[in-house]
Symmetry: C2
């Protein structure tokens, strides 16, 4: 029945993370999950997600195209490995602050993490759902932050998820905008918005979107995603506080 452990990673049913923590069953140490993740992340950081190719990765590692398949079962698992790898960078806050400050700090640090690795926002949402150790550790820390509030498990998770969903939602949009601007060589959002984006000019010229147009021409903080992020984050945290303590 449990007759795994025969072939390479390809057909192995053992989860990636279990395999990863086995002490060091490896002869010939030229490759390792860590080395693979590091190389892949470096490429993605520098050239975006599209640059990640099994062949490119192999080249980067100085190895044959199929070599990495001994460690990841396919490209999807490679991405999973990359995501977990960078989430390891996130320094979780200590126990000194209250729930609100802790949740805020995690949100802010998540944003900084994603801004360091823009390709995170190019992934489909499903890739962000994968339960990897470093990602679950973040959820764990968030849950622990609200532990003293005497919430039932469902409410606790709802609180954490609300902040988390908001965070990922905004940052996804922010990074998409950044990548769009970078891809076109634009430097400020104003440039994007006025006439360089033919899409938008056309739409605004139809006159069907007056309120949207007003924001485009009168918004002063369109170039300040940090302000936008933190403003909304305060709304969200306020809302949680209101619900938890009002009644």
């Amino acid at each position: 029945m449990a007759a795994a452990r025969k072939d390479g990673a390809g057909k192995d049913e053992t989860p990636l993370w279990a395999r990863l923590e086995r002490p060091a069953p490896a002869p010939r140490q030229t490759l390792s999950p860590h080395r693979i993740a590091t190389a892949a992340v470096a490429v993605a950081d520098a050239e975006g997600l599209d640059a990640i190719t099994m062949r490119r990765l192999a080249t980067e590692l100085g190895v044959a195209p199929m070599a990495a398949y001994r460690y990841v079962s396919g490209k999807d698992e490679l991405v999973e490995l990359m995501v977990d790898h960078v989430y390891g960078e996130l320094e979780l806050p200590g126990d000194t602050s209250g729930w609100r400050e802790t949740l805020r700090e995690i949100a802010v640090k998540t944003r900084e993490l994603m801004l360091r690795h823009l390709w995170l926002a190019q992934l489909p949402p499903s890739a962000m759902l994968a339960l990897t150790p470093n990602r679950v550790a973040v959820s764990e820390r968030s849950l622990r932050a609200v532990e003293g509030l005497d919430l039932d498990p469902d409410t606790a998770m709802a609180v954490v998820n609300t902040v988390n969903s908001y965070t990922h939602g905004v940052i996804g949009a922010e990074i998409a905008m950044r990548l769009l601007m970078a891809g076109q060589g634009w430097s400020s959002e104003q440039q994007v918005f006025t006439s360089l984006a033919p899409q938008l000019s056309y739409l605004l010229d139809t006159g069907r979107y007056p309120a949207f147009e007003q924001y485009i021409y009168q918004g002063r903080r369109k170039d300040d995603p940090g302000w936008q992020f933190e403003t909304g984050l305060e709304y969200v945290l306020d809302g949680i506080a209101a619900r938890l303590f009002a009644e």
Copy 2:
């Protein structure tokens, strides 16, 4: 200089939406943006985003593989067309309710829309940023909902964006979970969580995530994404209300 209007859509700099609204310059009406979008959406609804292939689309339309390239410049624009097409389904609320009810209704309808077209959540966030007519119309309606509150344009957009980001964040995760379950033939989230997902079992067995584990085993509403969505949405709306009226 402005020497466009020569070749097919491939090299045409005219934005997709301008082209689309030109009355009907087309002889031989076997293909049209609308027909293309409809066919592509049908395939994606039934078989997921991966089923969308230029060849598959052509087969579906009873047409040669390259035919659609007269109407969309490539696969990216096809996806843009699909996204805008389904956003046309979203019925925007009238003017009878207040800002809060309007924003909530838009959020709820957005969720319903995405649940009807699960592939929307398989797209990278950048695809959701594209400024297409039907998508901008939603933003426009949201902005108009807060117009009476006397907010400066930046704050108004921050409010709208907060709700919108939360909405997309949660739904992305919800649908990723649904697709994961569907892909494995699981029917309830409990099944996913207990032992059928080797990933999770392994992680929980490490004992490093007690709070997370508690939710897994004691959460009663893990199978109720509707409750989760609406609970968080109320938090967010509460927070906005608090900020706008408190000071």
